[in-house]
C-alpha cells in the first residue's frame, strides 16, 4: 500500500532539488518493496533472517504478568542484530539504495541506534556510510558512536541548536540536497517526506506480522492491547501495522512526558517530547504532522531522558491514527521511565532501552499497585521491547544518581 498522505498529514514539503530524488525513491519503493521486483523483498527477508536474527521471540513475562495480574507478552526486538528494531528499516533501505544504484548512504541518528543499524547494514552490504548526530546526543550515547565507527561509518557531529535529533535531521537533509544524485538518505523513523513514512512502516511491519502469528500460536487469539513507545514512531507503527484492522486490539503509543508537560513558550523549550499528546499540526522535515511548536510556528526544542524519543515531531500516519481514534496517545515522565528501566532489568533480566522503558512505565502507571485508574487494560497485553539498554547505561547511571528511585540499585559502587 503506497501512501503519500494520511488524511491531511504527510506529503512532501522539501526543497525542489530533492523532489526528483523523492520521485525516484517513490518509484523504487513501489517497484521493489510493494511489487517485489527482481525479488527485492525475498532478499530483504532472507537477510533479515540470516543477518538480522529474525524472527524475534514473543516471550511471556512471568514476573510482570504476576505483578499486573494479566498476561504480559514481550516482543523482543532487543534481540535483533544490533540490539534494536532499527535494523529492520536500515537493512531495507540500504538494500533498496543498492538496488537503485546509489553509491553512498547518509543517515541521522538520535540515540545512535539508527546510526548503528545503518552502519551495520552499510558494512554488510558494502556501501560507504556517513551519520549525522547532534553533539549533545554524541555525549549521551558514546557506545553507539563507537559502534558506528567500528563498522566503518563516519560520524559527523552537529553543533547547531541543542544538538539533538531535530538538528541532525536538518543537517542530513542539507547533505542530501548537495549529493542527491549519488546518495540515499536512510531516514530512521516513519517521518520525513513521502514515501519515507509508508516505506519505513512497511519495513518495520515485520514486527506486528510476527507478533500476530506468534499470539495465535501461543494463546490462539489476538492480544487485547499492544503498547509501544513513540518518538518518531517507527517501532510504534511496526508494532501496530498488522493490528490496525483489528478494532478489538487497543493500541497505545507511549510518549516521553519528560520532566513536565508544561511548556516554556518564551524560551522555545518543551520539557517533554509528547507531540502526539500535546502537539499542533504543522510542517517539519518534509511532512505535515503533529509538532511541538510555539504560537508563531517556530519548532520547539524537546526533552526526554531518552535521546531516542527526544524529537519535536512524530510520524504523520501516527498523527492521523490518533485523530481517527484508532491509536491512543499516552505519556509517562522521565522518573517513571527510569523506574521501569530498573524494574524490567531486575524482574525479567532484560535491560531495556530507555525508549522502551517508557512503554513499561505506562504499564506500571495503569496496572501497577499504585495504578491511577485512568485506563483499564485488557487481560492480554503485548509490549514491544524496541531495543536493549546497553547504549543508555551511562545516562542511566547519571540520571539515577540524581533521583530517589525506590527500586534502583545503590549507586555507591559506581563512585569507585
Amino acid at each position: 500500500m503506497s501512501q503519500s498522505k494520511f488524511g491531511d498529514y504527510g506529503g512532501q514539503y522539501v526543497p525542489e532539488a530533492l523532489m526528483p530524488a523523492i520521485e525516484e525513491l517513490t518509484d523504487a519503493y513501489e517497484r521493489y518493496v510493494l511489487e517485489n521486483e527482481d525479488g527485492f523483498m525475498d532478499e530483504f527477508r532472507e537477510r533479515l533472517r540470516d543477518f538480522g536474527g529474525r524472527p524475534t521471540p514473543l516471550q511471556r513475562a512471568d514476573q510482570l504478568s504476576e505483578r499486573y495480574d494479566r498476561e504480559v507478552y514481550l516482543k523482543r526486538e532487543d534481540l535483533v542484530h544490533g540490539g534494536a528494531h532499527k535494523l529492520n528499516n536500515a537493512l531495507g533501505q540500504v538494500l533498496l539504495a543498492r538496488y537503485m544504484g546509489k553509491e553512498r548512504i547518509i543517515a541521522e541518528t538520535g540515540a545512535g541506534q539508527h546510526g548503528t543499524a545503518t552502519a551495520m547494514a552499510a558494512a554488510h552490504l558494502d556501501v560507504p556510510c556517513e551519520v549525522y548526530m547532534g553533539r549533545r546526543d554524541i555525549n549521551r550515547q558514546r557506545p553507539n558512536v563507537f559502534r558506528m565507527r567500528i563498522n566503518g561509518a563516519e560520524v559527523n557531529p552537529v553543533d547547531i541548536g541543542r544538538g539533538t535529533l531535530k538538528e541532525a535531521i536538518s543537517e542530513t537533509m542539507r547533505d542530501w540536497a548537495t549529493t542527491v544524485e549519488t546518495t540515499h538518505y536512510v531516514i530512521g523513523s516513519v517521518v520525513g517526506p513521502a514515501p519515507f513514512p509508508a516505506m519505513v512502516r512497511d519495513f518495520q511491519s515485520v514486527i506486528s506480522e510476527e507478533a500476530r502469528r506468534q499470539c495465535e500460536e501461543k494463546f490462539g487469539d489476538l492480544p487485547g492491547a499492544v503498547l509501544a513507545c513513540a518518538g518518531g514512531g517507527s517501532n510504534t507503527m511496526g508494532a501496530f501495522a498488522n493490528f490496525l484492522d483489528d478494532e478489538e486490539v487497543d493500541l497505545y503509543a507511549v510518549e516521553a512526558g519528560g520532566s513536565s508537560l508544561e511548556v516554556d513558550e518564551e524560551e522555545g523549550i518543551a520539557p517533554h517530547s509528547a507531540s502526539l499528546s500535546t502537539g499542533d499540526e504543522g510542517v517539519l522535515h518534509g511532512a505535515r504532522t503533529k509538532l511541538l511548536q510555539d504560537s508563531h510556528g517556530q519548532i520547539m526544542e524537546s526533552h526526554s531522558v531518552s535521546s531516542g524519543l527526544d524529537y519535536s515531531g512524530v510520524g504523520p500516519e501516527l498523527a492521523y491514527l490518533v485523530d481517527e481514534g484508532r491509536v491512543t496517545p499516552v505519556n509517562v515522565d522521565d522518573d517513571a521511565a527510569l523506574e521501569a528501566f530498573h524494574r524490567l532489568s531486575q524482574d525479567e533480566g532484560i535491560i531495556p532501552a530507555l525508549e522502551t522503558a517508557h512503554a513499561f512505565g505506562f504499564l506500571e502507571k495503569v496496572a501497577g499497585p499504585d495504578a491511577d485508574g485512568g485506563v483499564e487494560l485488557p487481560g492480554t497485553v503485548v509490549v514491544n521491547v524496541s531495543g536493549r539498554g546497553d547504549k543508555d547505561l551511562e545516562s542511566v547511571i547519571e540520571e539515577t544518581d540524581q533521583r530517589q528511585l525506590d527500586n534502583a540499585p545503590t549507586m555507591e559502587v559506581f563512585d569507585g
Binding site: E16, A17, A177, D280
Partner: protein
C-alpha cells in the same frame, strides 16, 4: 505571466515609499535581487542594511523571515536566522519591519511553509491570514523553499486572491514533467538554483547554471539565478549566460555577520553592503553587454 499586474495598485508603506506593483517589471533590465534575513542581527540595524541594498541598486529585495529549521540554507544564512530569532524576530515583527522600511523596491518574503501555515488566530484558515497581512504591508510575492509545486495549491489560491506572486525554485535536478508543472504555477520570476546543494557563496559559476537556463529558455518568465554568486564578475557571467537577474544572499549576509562579529558601526556595514550591491548590479548590467545578439537584429 500574470494578467493581474495591470489591475494592481502600487503600495505605499508607512514610511511613504512607493513600491512598484509588479515583480516582472523589475526585470526590464538585468536585475540585482539581494537577500537578507530581516532582523539580522537586530531590527534597527537590519532596516539600515536593507535600505543600503536599495541605494546600491537592488531591483527586488528578498527578505528572509527566519524559521528555526531552515533545511535549504547553508551555514551562513543559518547563522543569520539564529541571530535574527535571538533578536526577537517573529512573523508579526517581520511585517512591522516591512512597514518601517523606507525603500521603493518590490519586496519578496522568503520563508518556510510552517510559519505561513501557522500565522493568525486559532480557527483562522491556514495560509490566508499570512498572505492577507503580507499584502497589507506591501509584500509583492513569496519564495517558500520547502513548498514544492505539488503542495502549493492553498498558497497559490491565497496569492491569486491578493494579487501576490509565488516564485518557485527550479533546481539543476528539475527536468521534464516537473519543470512544466512548476513553470505553469510560477509568477513574478523563477528562481534558478545555480547548483545542487544549500545556499552559500562560492568562487565559480557552475555549468549547471548554463544547462538550467537553456532548459528554461522556452518559458516566458524572468529567470533569476541564485546560489553561490558573490562578485560582480560572477553576476556578469550569469547574466551573459542568459539570466534576467542575479540573486545574492550569503555574500551579503557575510558582510552583516562580519560587521556584527567585528563590532563595526552600523553605518560602516551599511556602506559595505551598498558598495557590494553596486558592484553586483553593475556586474549584472555588464553581463548583458556580453550576451550574443539575437539573430536578425
Amino acid at each position: 505571466m500574470s494578467g493581474e499586474d495591470d489591475q494592481r495598485e502600487s503600495s505605499e508603506n508607512a514610511s511613504g515609499a512607493e513600491r512598484p506593483a509588479s515583480l516582472e517589471d523589475a526585470f526590464d533590465e538585468p536585475a540585482f535581487v539581494p537577500y537578507l534575513a530581516a532582523g539580522d542581527p537586530d531590527f534597527e540595524s537590519s532596516l539600515e542594511y536593507v535600505e543600503a541594498l536599495a541605494r546600491g541598486g537592488a531591483d527586488v529585495i528578498e527578505l528572509g523571515l527566519p524559521f528555526s529549521e531552515p533545511i535549504a540554507e547553508g551555514p551562513t544564512i543559518q547563522q543569520a536566522v539564529v541571530r535574527s530569532l535571538e533578536g526577537g524576530m517573529t512573523p508579526e515583527r517581520f511585517f512591522e519591519f516591512v512597514e518601517a522600511l523606507d525603500v521603493d523596491v518590490p519586496l519578496v518574503c522568503m520563508t518556510y511553509y510552517n510559519l505561513i501555515y501557522q500565522f493568525g488566530e486559532d480557527g483562522d484558515p491556514p495560509v490566508r491570514p499570512f498572505v492577507e497581512r503580507a499584502a497589507e504591508v506591501g509584500i509583492e510575492g513569496f519564495v517558500v523553499p520547502d513548498l514544492p509545486a505539488e503542495e502549493a495549491d492553498l498558497l497559490r489560491e491565497a496569492c491569486d486572491e491578493h494579487g501576490l506572486d509565488l516564485v518557485f525554485i527550479v533546481a539543476p535536478t528539475t527536468t521534464g514533467e516537473r519543470l512544466d508543472r512548476i513553470m505553469s504555477q510560477v509568477t513574478g520570476y523563477v528562481y534558478v538554483q545555480a547548483r545542487l546543494g544549500v545556499t552559500g557563496a562560492r568562487s565559480d559559476v557552475s555549468d549547471q547554471t548554463t544547462e538550467s537556463l537553456a532548459r528554461l529558455e522556452a518559458y516566458d518568465v524572468p529567470k533569476a539565478v541564485g546560489f553561490g554568486i558573490s562578485s560582480g564578475e560572477q553576476a556578469a557571467d550569469v547574466v551573459a549566460a542568459g539570466a534576467d537577474g542575479v540573486i545574492v544572499g550569503s555574500a551579503l549576509v557575510d558582510v552583516v555577520a562580519d560587521g556584527h562579529e567585528e563590532g563595526r558601526p552600523v553605518e560602516e556595514t551599511a556602506d559595505r553592503l551598498e558598495s557590494l550591491a553596486r558592484e553586483l548590479k553593475e556586474g549584472a548590467l555588464a553581463g548583458a553587454q556580453r550576451r550574443p545578439r539575437p539573430e536578425g537584429t
